[in-house]
Symmetry: C2
Subunit: 225 residues, 2 copies
DNA sequence: ATTGGCTTCAAACGTATGTTTAAAACAGAC
DNA sequence: GTCTGTTTTAAACATACGTTTGAAGCCAAT
């Protein structure tokens, strides 16, 4: 049996279980029994449960951030000296995610859910790990967003970016459950690609909403003050 | 010491800790030591940890859903026989949330975060509990949204509602942290009301985005299939 | 055939969890 | 003051967790 077989089987099982149940709710015994390896294998190959979590993220995120940097390079080059538009920037990100080589058909949705969990579950170690390892492409994305929405005040832009992050992280983090609900209700199947296809226009429209709408309807008790 | 004092102290401590760390990550011992009550008090007064989680939600959600129903009643009455607009519906919800009597200044944001966690962490029992107890006002909100966006297909509407939920839950849940960051950066103070004031236009614009935007830019590799 | 370095394995370790117990403390009614 | 039902308490329970251990297994190089 090849050396890496055990490592990969652990990563596969962990990825799936983490996505299904979250990090704290998934025990090493669940992972190793799903992967059909010995319990001690995790600590032998990875060192600790936290290190396994990092490895699961790194396996996807390292090639992804490389793809993303390339996509941003191409985008900026093709735009000459004027900055890419909001739509272009959002699509560059989306396409980089969708086009990543998948281990299986559920690849992206599993990983999107993991990213959502990373944001949502307050796993301090994970946050630190992600910031340290993948902070650069994230900052670059932020810079592109700023250049693409010069009409927004810094404060407006700040909050709207949070709204975008929220819609994305939240939807993706529960996308499996949501898809199931939708399928039970309407019989419609939905791929992650299609969700992204619906999400991007929503985000772009929200990002570019008129400031004039920033007024509650007549008779509202929320003051604009 | 009044009988209910212990119960309330447990609820206060649990609410705060759950919001900070999630449900599985918060132990009964953390809760009881923060509440300065005996460990067994939780099982004595609530029966189990899961029942405590339900009680935390019920304490906020029961009065809130009553307020919300009233707000929807008034809104529908004032609209005569035509359905309320999207903006009106969103504002009715927002104002009901903002105007709820708060236990403390962090009241809303804590509870928004809990709602987000309920959706995100796969706590089957919680989901079942919330659906059973508070499914009615939720369905009503959904019906209003449907009437306010007749131009959307059922599937589009379904996903856009998820996006709205996500942006809201995510932003409100971390609004404390986000507000601090923003204040450090720009010196601007932001109240929950003001966040809502920015959020609603974002949501409304996203909700009413043109379907035509549902096409990736020229040269995109994401197929519309 | 024997060695040496990885890898696997069953078992155990220490710790933390939710829950239960039975006695003690308390409060209000008579 | 005594009794009665409720609440609090310290201690223990059983179980599950992440991690460690030391022996056994394996495979390539000698």
């Amino acid at each position: 049996m090849a050396q890496s077989d055990t490592v990969d089987r652990i990563l596969d099982a962990a990825e799936e279980l983490f996505a299904e149940r979250g990090f704290s709710e998934t025990s090493l015994r669940m992972i190793t029994s799903k992967a059909k390896v010995n319990l001690a294998a995790v600590n032998y190959h990875f060192g600790s449960k936290n290190a396994l979590i990092h490895a699961v993220f790194a396996r996807f995120l390292t090639p992804f951030s490389a793809t993303l940097e390339k996509a941003f390079d191409e985008l900026e080059e093709s735009c000459g000296d004027q900055p890419p538009t909001l739509n272009q920037t959002l699509w560059a990100l989306t396409e980089s995610a969708v086009r990543m080589p998948q281990r299986n058909e559920k690849g992206i949705s599993i990983f999107m859910r993991l990213l959502g969990l990373a944001y949502t579950q307050s796993q301090g170690h994970l946050r630190k790990f992600l910031e340290q390892e993948y902070g650069d492409p994230f900052s670059r994305f932020m810079r592109l967003l700023k250049a693409a929405t010069p009409q927004l005040s810094a404060v407006d832009r700040y909050w709207r970016i949070q709204f975008m992050l929220g819609a994305t992280a939240f939807t993706m983090s529960s996308s499996d459950a949501l898809r199931d609900i939708l399928q039970n209700k309407t019989g419609v199947e939905t791929s992650v690609q299609e969700i992204a296809l619906r999400l991007v226009p929503f985000l772009a429209a929200g990002m570019q909403a008129e400031d004039a709408m920033l007024v509650p309807p007549k008779g509202s008790k929320v003051s604009v003050a």
